[in-house]
């Protein structure tokens, strides 16, 4: 599904390299987790994959189902099935959440050559998805993320994911800011989407999320590289011992 080879990225404006050769291969239907200390480059990886400006790829490649995505515009990557649940979802005053969701859904349908979804069908779909995430009508009516609590913003990200049904989902610290119940809701939302044709890359600091969303592979990122990969036990190890032992181990 997603193949990242030797990806090297620097900041556009500064002479600062952030990703120093990332290798990652995510098969269709699998769930991978990335853990790693603050500032190790996890969000940068997710931004570069989704096409945010400000970064310069100085080496390596990234393919989504064989397609070189680094050449595509952000909206083309989205239409190709890539989705990023933001670590910090953006507030957009003046744009209603409902309008936003519908525009996004129809834009992706249009890019795939499908017809627009009717207003009635859309309303039904949103209501159904929102209900399972306990997102009320008021949150749908308000401007995108404006005045949403931290946890509400994260649930709104998962709502978008559920509506857009992407095939490659990157979740950047979706668990941060969630209370215990919301964490369960969000995990259930994610698990409901798990299937053969869909993969997940879950960025997190805490093992707790991975109790709910069971990963197939766990990676540790440090200073712009994946320094170790392993099974779910690796997350437990980090939770118990921190990163110091791991870093010592790899030198």
């Amino acid at each position: 599904m997603l193949e990242i080879k030797n990806l090297e990225v620097k900041l556009e404006e500064e002479d600062k390299q952030i990703l120093k050769g990332v290798n990652l291969s995510i098969e269709s239907g699998s769930v991978h987790a990335i853990m790693g200390p603050n500032g190790s480059g996890k969000s940068t990886l997710s931004y570069v994959l989704s096409g945010r400006e400000g970064y310069e790829v100085i080496g390596g490649e990234a393919h989504l189902d064989g397609e070189d995505i680094l050449e595509l515009e952000p909206e083309e990557r989205a239409a190709a099935g890539l989705f990023l649940a933001f670590q910090y979802p953006v507030e957009i005053p003046g744009v209603g959440n409902m309008t936003f969701l519908r525009t996004a859904l129809n834009a992706q349908r249009a890019a795939r050559g499908e017809d627009e979804m009717s207003a009635a069908d859309f309303l039904k779909l949103v209501r159904e998805k929102a209900k399972s995430l306990k997102i009320d009508g008021d949150m749908l009516k308000r401007p995108v993320n404006v005045g949403f609590s931290g946890g509400e913003k994260k649930r709104n990200e998962i709502l978008q994911m559920a509506l857009l049904e992407p095939k490659m989902c990157i979740l950047d610290e979706t668990d941060s800011g969630l209370d215990v119940d919301a964490m369960k809701l969000v995990s259930e939302g994610v698990n409901a989407l798990r299937n053969e044709g869909r993969s997940f890359l879950v960025i997190t600091h805490y093992q707790r999320l991975l109790d709910h969303i069971k990963p197939d592979v766990v990676h540790i990122m440090y200073d712009g590289r994946i320094i170790k990969s392993g099974g779910p036990d690796l997350a437990l190890e980090v939770e118990n011992n921190g990163y110091a032992d791991l870093l010592a181990e790899v030198g």
Partner: protein, 427 residues
């Protein structure tokens, strides 16, 4: 003080190019207005009040040629149930207009009644205009009073059931139209005025409105999308106790637009809102000049102006709130913002507060900025193409001004036009 020779020459040249309708109840007002023009002189480039907008093409004798434009769309407000009054290049079009009778008001054409000696508008024509020249002079408005060829005189006596729509059309490349409207609203009366269209190659318009105690005036206008048209419009209003005045203007295109709005709140607890949204692309200059005077207690005023500019367009805002001694508990708000879609465009703002009462709450703010990159990326990451995402953010930016329109049917119409125009831009 004598005028500089250059100013008085330009003024006389302009006057000589116009012809004043003779006789009737407006004769004295026109003569007075002409005297005011001569005394003030027409604005020149050095005038402080015209610092950001060159008055040359508004002052010169003869209108600069303005190519006709096919809007390729149904006229704005076409779906609204309204009484329609049509002027083509400043000339009344009877065929295209509705019958001018409507319960709760009387409508007459200035040109129809101007030979009469007795008319209710005798005390009103030019009366408010005569008062707006202090502390800044507005000679182009006086010129309009002196030479207006036509206009509508509306006396509102009750609550009018549907909007009156003055619809302007531009069919001559060199038309130079002068219209002067007078509205008198009796106590407790209510009306909505809609205006739309480009009017002429060059258009000068004055609207004088007296809103009596408890009366409500709502005004929504769109100014034509013709690229080369020029317009100088003035709204002069006097507001009585507990009265309400709400005006919204949407402008797109137009090589030169100066919209002045001068309001005086003379009765306690009056409300005045003036709002504008404008889309400027390319050779476009748009100026909102607003002056609100609070001269009574517990009045509220709002000025909300938003401009989206690109490809070298210029936006101007000069807005003032003047709070007179004794106008306690004034609530004054003013915001002017521009969204610059590229580095070529500019927004020039002069927000002013002048306060002579101690118990007031007044605020003003002016900002200029670019599209928020984080918002743009967020929308694109969800699959919305860049151009469409920018349009969404532009609409969101303008929303605060459009929200000033109370009537939902009309604000939907305006929003619909806006998104349509955003997508089409130039054509």
């Amino acid at each position: 003080m004598a005028l500089a020779q250059q100013v008085s020459d330009a003024t006389e040249e302009r006057i000589a190019s116009l012809s004043m309708p003779e006789g009737g109840f407006t004769a004295a007002a026109r003569a007075d207005a002409l005297a005011r023009v001569r005394q003030m002189g027409l604005p020149g480039r050095r005038d402080e009040y015209w610092k950001f907008t060159r008055p040359d093409t508004l002052v010169q004798a003869g209108a600069p040629k303005a190519a006709l434009f096919d809007p390729k769309e149904a006229p704005v407000f076409d779906t609204v149930d309204r009484l329609r009054i049509v002027f083509v290049d400043g000339v009344f079009d009877k065929e295209a207009s509705d019958d001018l009778t409507l319960e709760g008001l009387t409508i007459e054409r200035l040109a129809d009644v101007s030979d009469r000696d007795i008319h209710w508008a005798k005390d009103a024509y030019g009366a408010i205009e005569a008062t707006v020249h202090d502390p800044v002079q507005r000679p182009l408005a006086a010129l309009n009073t002196a030479f207006a060829q036509d206009g509508v005189l509306i006396h509102v006596t009750g609550k009018v059931s549907k909007p009156v729509n003055i619809s302007y059309m531009h069919r001559s490349e060199t038309s130079d139209a002068y219209l002067h409207h007078v509205i008198r609203m009796d106590e407790g009366s209510e009306m909505t005025l809609l205006e739309n269209g480009p009017a002429a190659a060059r258009f000068s318009k004055v609207l004088e409105i007296d809103v009596a105690d408890g009366a409500k005036f709502h005004h929504i206008r769109t100014q034509g999308r013709d690229h080369e048209r020029r317009a100088m419009s003035c709204i002069f209003g006097r507001l009585g106790r507990e009265s309400e005045f709400k005006s919204f203007t949407l402008t797109a295109n137009g090589v030169m637009t100066r919209n002045e709005c001068v309001l005086t709140l003379t009765g306690d607890d009056a409300i005045a809102h003036v709002a504008g949204a404008c889309l400027g692309d390319g050779d476009f200059h748009h100026d909102d000049t607003v002056f609100v005077t609070h001269d009574a207690e517990r009045c509220e005023s709002r000025q909300v102006f938003k401009k989206v500019l690109r490809n070298g367009a210029t936006g101007v805002f000069q807005g003032k709130i003047l709070v007179q001694p004794g106008a306690q508990k004034t609530d004054g708000y003013q915001i002017s913002q521009s969204l610059l879609l590229d580095g070529d465009s500019q927004f020039l703002a002069k927000p002013e507060l002048e306060i002579y009462a101690d118990d007031v709450a007044c605020s003003h703010g002016s900002t200029s900025g670019a599209i928020d990159e984080d918002s743009l990326f967020y929308l694109r990451a969800r699959g919305v193409p860049e151009a469409q995402a920018i349009n969404m953010l532009v609409l969101a930016f303008l929303a605060e001004a459009v929200d000033e329109i109370e009537n939902e049917e009309i604000s939907d119409e305006i929003l619909g036009r806006l998104s349509d125009w955003l997508e089409r831009r130039i054509d």
